[in-house]
Point group: C2
Chain length 390, copies 2
Amino acid sequence: MRAVAVFPKTKEIKLIDHPEPNVTRPTDVKVKIINVGVCGTDREIWSGEYGDPPAGSDYLITGHESFGQVVEVGPAVQAVKVGDYVVLTVRRGCPENCIACRQMRQDFCYTGHFTERGIKGAHGYMTEFVVDDEKYMNLVPPEIKDIAVLLEPLTIAEKALMQVFTIQSRLPWECRLEQGGANQTCHNAIVLGAGPVGLLGAMALRLLNMDVHVVARDRAPNPKEELAKSLGALYHATSEKTPQQIAEQIGNVDLVFEATGAAKASFDFLQVVGPNGIFIFTGVPAPMIDITLDAGMLMRDIVLKNQVVLGTVNAPKIAFENGIRDLLEFQKRWPEAVRSLITGFLPLERFQETVKRTDREEIKTVLTLGPSLPLQRAGACAEPATGGRK
Amino acid sequence: MRAVAVFPKTKEIKLIDHPEPNVTRPTDVKVKIINVGVCGTDREIWSGEYGDPPAGSDYLITGHESFGQVVEVGPAVQAVKVGDYVVLTVRRGCPENCIACRQMRQDFCYTGHFTERGIKGAHGYMTEFVVDDEKYMNLVPPEIKDIAVLLEPLTIAEKALMQVFTIQSRLPWECRLEQGGANQTCHNAIVLGAGPVGLLGAMALRLLNMDVHVVARDRAPNPKEELAKSLGALYHATSEKTPQQIAEQIGNVDLVFEATGAAKASFDFLQVVGPNGIFIFTGVPAPMIDITLDAGMLMRDIVLKNQVVLGTVNAPKIAFENGIRDLLEFQKRWPEAVRSLITGFLPLERFQETVKRTDREEIKTVLTLGPSLPLQRAGACAEPATGGRK
């Protein structure tokens, strides 16, 4: 079967022929892949920054943002049946079976010896068929099949938000009393970055009734500003305002959801978090970004304002399940906005066109095993790649 | 009555005569102060770095680490009675009565308009009598009256640890499975700094059965190393080992409890926190400590290792209550060690001798309204200042 693979030794990215996997264990599920999202991690793996083939293989099949349909199940499978739509989780536990992995919280693996499909030591989803245990399958209702490829990037926000509510239960956080009055206001959230993780995060925060402020580089008007507005969020351009100016406009900054991977900008915004606020890092920047900062002032603020900085990576099955519930709600509230996050579908064969990000307005490009479709702009309704399948 | 007060305008610190307060409201309690601890915050206030007198006053009575005895109660008081030993909390709520202050969580005040006795807008405890509402009184069992002046600095760790367990309930944290085996190990904690907050924190962490590593500047042998050992903790000198060398010796660093206020050293140790680890800042450094750091690498680590950085300041009544339970346990397990944290008693009149820290081996100096006693060394058993009172 066809697959997109990277060869770390020769730094090639190729469409290869890879043996089709089969159901062998009683709890195995075979999935026909329909869509695979392309993300920054894929591009870093393709450029040779990281990515490890499985033991004994020269190549790694890339791709970890999946959506497919069950075509075969082992005799003991109960979670899904043939014909079901599914999204697979990404990380698999360590051989030591550490306390986190044993509890299906591979996302918190202690040993670091986990594998990740499409990233580290296990083949990914940019291929025709994959086989895996039923416990890694997340059942997708047909109503959201056209956007379900967005589930994996959404789970970054879902895992973050699960932690935020646990962490903030350390204090009276539900709602603040407005100064001098009896009215309650909900939280003010800044989303740093208007890529897929940022915009999906903004939607999840809007569902929680937060005041959401999307912060990105480009000045308005632009399609991402339009998209933010359609969610009831405000848009701020860092090319027009400093972090301090943005914060002043917002008032108390209760939460910052960083989804840029930009170290300098992140540390700039760390300094505008308000009392009892939480700053969430999700981006993985390159190392060796030396910055000079007033560590004394930063530490003072963190202490005197009782702040939390949280780093979060990967996501557990429960975050996928929460994400599915949220996607259903996004679809109801903002059908056009959520569809417009997918700015293009390309057939798997044309993966080379996605290796470099060339379009400033790209949000999420999806490789499809379905019919080829033209690139769509943000704001336009993308034709689902699944039309006519089944 | 006598009181130690700072005059911000003239930068004087003086023993003054201040009107004795009286019980006026039905829930007021009048306390005769026995002991008041001197801490870094007091020294910063005395040196003019901060500290605000109450509205309309030229001076601020300093001191926030209290221990005293109830001498009079209003008719509605139920929490304490005459003769009881008490420690008072420090922070009082904001006039806006924000959602945190309304819930007796002034330590998380949102408006910043709180007052703090002895620090900000309210007189402190370096005087003969204080009056306050019964809800700010913490009843001290007579068994620990000689060490109860250590309660307020201990509450810094108590509040931090309350938050740590809430925050870490985001993941499987109880105990890690040892690599390749079935044995469980408990958490590894680094305590940065061997002052009163650090050493009391080390004791609290030992009660939680953590492996505790006290890190301070001076090379061993020294009295603080002895003290750490007596708790079953290990001592490491930063003058002998780098943070990386210390971390390698420890293994996975699950928790760092910073109690130094030193920005540079803190950020150095932030870089050795392990997977799922938590770094707690409690120190308030001076601003304008510019450091250059690899923000990219720091952010990568925070994300890829699912880490949390927590800042914490002040403490709520519940932390005082937890601290009293812990002091009772410290007294049982390590009676000499906990007593040796008080390295000297001085009569209130001799407060000038405590304005500058002159003794490297000083841990906690206590001003007493009781008889004058010679300075004690760490490791020696300090004579209680309360002997013969009552």
